[in-house]
């Protein structure tokens, strides 16, 4: 008897449960793949979203579609766009969120917070900034590239991340960096070159506001500073003068350049310590293993002197690059290195406010110390 009641209860609860979950069958959905967010030109204060969606229609072979909608919030704008399609737009598969330059300068926190709180939205979605407006990049890109431009852009950025060339920043890490005191986020910038979207620079943020951009090479330096880099392709430029006497085939060379370009595969890690907490002196040790792939001028590298000289010059070059980058960032007063974070953890009371660090950051001194080891310079892999 008791069993029968139990079974009935189970059956009834199953039937009632069906009310809880709303079924979303794949073919009825317009699945957002990429979203561009801009400030609306017509209505002040509103945002305009450009949505790149997948829709599965038996009668239409083309599954990518571009829609746009305006509204006060992201969801409002999505509903506006939904009026233009029969498919229900859902954000569960957004892989890339692109922000226009203007909106990024005003701050993107509120949009990110909305994404982070949506359990359907992926935490690992990539974020990027458009050089002009997001709409421009997506519209023109879609008409230029053969494939879905969202997928294309995601691929472009993701390849760089996988190569360790740039610091990987997805929604989760961006939110984390923002929440950290004394650590400013960076994001890749997409610009249009002959109407073709291209990864061109890195955007530096002050909190959630886009302030200035740095080059992709600087982006790599930031990555090397924060992560262990396993094999990043890098091009270095060092003065040619010290190597003149070791050059091979000097007689036939017509190269008149004053600089030597070296293409290397770089592997390394860094460690930062505070040497003086009161005056904010830092010391960063960077260990690099370098595999040389290509020279602009052939060198007699078997000679031990050349190897030593190369190590010295490369180290000098990288140290100099770091110094320049730090100076620039101090001018902008944004700290994507995260020195503030290190300072806070070394400070006695462990307390630091964002404002306090903005005042102190331009004054800090960092001693970059690069150690280079040359790995094989024979056959390249």
């Amino acid at each position: 008897m008791l069993n029968r009641i139990l079974i009935n209860l189970i059956i009834i609860s199953f039937i009632l449960f069906t009310g809880c979950v709303q079924s979303k069958e794949l073919e009825t959905l317009g699945i957002l793949n990429t979203r561009g967010v801009d400030l609306s030109k017509e209505n002040n204060g509103q945002i305009e979203t450009t949505l790149l969606i997948y829709q599965f229609d038996a009668q239409n072979k083309n599954i990518s579609k571009l829609l746009s909608g305006t509204g006060n919030t992201l969801k409002d704008a999505r509903e506006d766009a939904n009026n233009k399609t029969t498919f229900l737009l859902t954000p569960g598969q957004i892989r890339l969120e692109l922000y226009g330059k203007e909106i990024a300068q005003k701050g993107i926190l509120r949009y990110l917070a909305a994404l982070a709180r949506d359990s359907r939205a992926s935490d690992t979605m990539l974020l990027a900034i458009s050089d002009t407006t997001a709409k421009d990049v997506l519209m023109k890109g879609q008409s230029q590239t053969e494939i879905n431009v969202g997928q294309f852009l995601h691929g472009v950025i993701d390849t760089e991340y996988n190569e360790d060339s740039l610091l990987r920043i997805d929604l989760q890490t961006f939110s984390h960096m923002f929440a950290d005191i004394g650590h400013d986020p960076i994001l890749p910038i997409i610009s249009l070159e002959n109407d073709l979207p291209k990864l061109s620079a890195m955007a530096v943020f002050q909190d959630d506001k886009y302030v200035d951009k740095i080059s992709l090479d600087d982006g790599f330096l930031l990555n090397l500073f924060q992560n262990r880099v396993s094999s990043a392709p890098v091009e270095l430029t060092i003065p040619r003068e010290p190597f003149k006497k070791y050059e091979q085939y000097k007689e036939i060379s017509k190269n008149k350049e004053e600089e030597l370009h070296i293409r290397v595969l770089l592997k390394g890690k860094s460690k930062t310590k505070m040497t003086n907490v009161q005056e904010q002196h830092f010391k960063t040790d960077i260990d690099l293993d370098i595999e040389i792939q290509e020279f602009s001028q052939l060198l007699n590298i078997e000679n031990g002197h050349v190897a030593d000289l190369l190590k010295k010059e490369i180290a000098k070059e990288i140290e100099q690059q770091y110094d320049t980058l730090l100076n620039k960032l101090q001018e902008i007063n944004a700290d994507p290195f995260g020195f503030g974070n290190i300072y806070r953890s070394n400070k006695k009371d462990g307390k630091l406010t964002k404002k306090e660090w903005r005042e102190k950051f331009p004054e800090i001194k960092v001693d970059f110390n690069v150690k280079v080891r040359l790995l094989n310079y024979g056959t390249t892999q």
Partner: protein, 500 residues
């Protein structure tokens, strides 16, 4: 039963041969097969009666009737018992005993005016010859399978286990048509409690007839309502022998080509004797593969249904596109699509099993290819789902035990329905429900999920994977065999090359 009647009834004999013949015909009303031949020898009437097709008639002819008639002696019962060269002669006095004897293949000789008849057991049993195993076919190792003949099966086991330890207890099961059942175990290894439990269960079965060992199994199982079989039913003598040497019990049933092995854990159903014959690493791999296959078989289609119905977020973008495109024209919700295809696979399997082998194969191929392709072309199903369904069907056939494979296939249907109603939560409900059930199950009183629950790490190397033979010096301890070790531990560590 026989003894009781003996006390109640008086002897039938002496009686005249005519009277006996009349009496027999009366009692055997509807039996045209009873043959009674009367001979006259030295002025004495001798009656020989039997059922023709149950006995070895050439033996009766050559060793019984011929000597009786050709000899010049004056036959008496004692003389017959001494002179006739058939070993099994006995004296019978009661009519009921005669009737029962006739049915099991006895031949009766009655000399007029003697006070008992003599019976010889000369049964003829029709049986097929030994053949390869069909449902549990193996690639390497012994191929021979049990047959329907108890004598043959006992012979196979005896030759596999030439040990005086081997016990073959005889128990009769069934009220109306009693059938011989043998309880087989190794006395020095098998657990005493297990033997007693099994013996008691067999003795307590009260049924009309036991059709087959698989039927008997259902009578003596711990939980008869469960979807999972709790005893292994095998047709391989070497598997039975291997189980016996590990301290388990086998039950043979007359006229059944499968032996029941008990106790059994859930994991035993995914072991094949082949795992032992292969190198240990290949054997381990195959065993792991079967576990993965089982999991895939139960969850793959439900996962598809859940993901496509509720959780499109979890599908990688590239896969999402191909699934989306193939789903685009399908008019049914995923749950019906999946149920429809699963049913179709089951139809093909069932039809293939019923039809003769040659036709069955053709139907399988034609049905699979034609229906599969046509269904996709017609837009009734998506081709991705066809792939999933086929994989899970294939996976379910990897279980060496056909009974377990069938259970798994049946389990898929409630899982698909749960997934279609509740999504991944539903699948989790289903898996939890199944797990709780498995935890509660026992086989001959031993936990079904051991050695995982209760946890016995030392048994893992016999269940989830297999160590090299040299390292398996312990028996499966979860079954508590009397003798725990197969050989001494030091023997395993010993180096084989002594010289050098």
């Amino acid at each position: 039963m026989r003894k009781k009647r003996k006390q109640q009834l008086n002897s039938l004999f002496p009686i005249t041969v005519e009277k006996l013949e009349q009496l027999m015909n009366e009692r055997f009303e509807n039996n045209p097969d009873l043959s009674i031949s009367t001979y006259e020898h030295q002025d004495k009437k001798i009656a020989v009666f039997f059922i023709g097709y149950l006995i070895q008639s050439d033996k009766v002819e050559n060793f019984l009737v011929k000597p009786l008639l050709e000899s010049k002696k004056e036959w008496t019962n004692n003389l017959i018992l001494n002179e006739i060269p058939i070993g099994s002669g006995q004296e019978t006095k009661l009519l009921d005993d005669i009737l029962e004897g006739l049915i099991i293949g006895e031949v009766f000789v009655y000399i007029e005016n003697e006070d008992s008849a003599i019976n010889y057991l000369l049964p003829k049993k029709e049986k097929r010859s030994l053949a390869k195993a069909e449902t549990e076919s193996v690639v390497i190792g012994p191929q021979v399978a049990f047959t329907e003949s108890m004598v043959t099966n006992l012979n196979l086991i005896r030759w596999g286990l030439r040990s005086t330890d081997l016990v073959l207890e005889k128990i009769m099961v069934g009220k109306r048509t009693p059938r011989e059942v043998r309880l087989v175990y190794l006395k020095s290894i098998a657990n005493e409690t297990d033997i007693n439990t099994m013996r008691q269960r067999l003795q307590e079965v009260e049924v009309d007839a036991v059709e087959d060992s698989n039927v008997l199994m259902q009578y003596i199982e711990d939980s008869s309502t469960s979807i999972f079989p709790q005893f292994y039913s095998t047709e391989l003598p070497d598997r039975a022998v291997y189980s016996l040497t590990n301290g388990r019990i086998a039950v043979l049933v007359e006229n059944s080509p499968t032996a029941i092995i008990a106790p059994t854990t859930f994991f035993n159903f995914f072991e094949s004797t082949e795992d032992l014959y292969m190198r240990w690493n290949a054997g381990s791999f195959l065993r792991l593969l079967r576990f993965i296959a089982m999991f895939i078989s139960v969850t793959l289609t439900p996962m598809y249904v859940a993901a496509v119905t509720f959780h499109y977020e979890i599908i990688p973008t590239q896969l999402l596109i191909s699934i989306g495109q193939s789903r685009a024209g399908v008019p049914f919700p995923p749950i019906f699509e999946a149920l429809f295809l699963e049913l179709m696979i089951e139809l093909l399997r069932e039809a293939g099993a019923r039809l003769p082998t040659k036709v069955g194969q053709t139907i399988g191929i034609v049905g699979g290819v034609v229906i599969g392709t046509a269904a996709v072309q017609a837009g009734i199903t998506s081709n991705i789902l066809i792939i999933f369904i086929t994989i899970s069907a294939l996976a379910s056939f990897t279980a060496p035990s056909y009974l377990m494979g069938t259970s798994i296939r049946v389990l898929r249907f409630p899982m698909i329905i749960l997934a279609g109603i509740l999504g991944i939560i539903g699948i989790m409900f289903g898996i939890c429900f199944m797990l709780i059930h498995l935890l509660k199950l026992t086989s001959l009183g031993r936990p079904y999920l051991s050695p995982i629950y209760p946890l016995r790490l030392e048994d893992f190397n016999k269940v989830l994977f297999r160590l090299p033979q040299n390292y398996q010096w312990k028996r499966f301890t979860s079954f508590r065999p009397k003798d725990l070790t197969r050989f001494s531990k030091n023997k395993a560590a010993e180096k084989k090359d002594i010289d050098e």
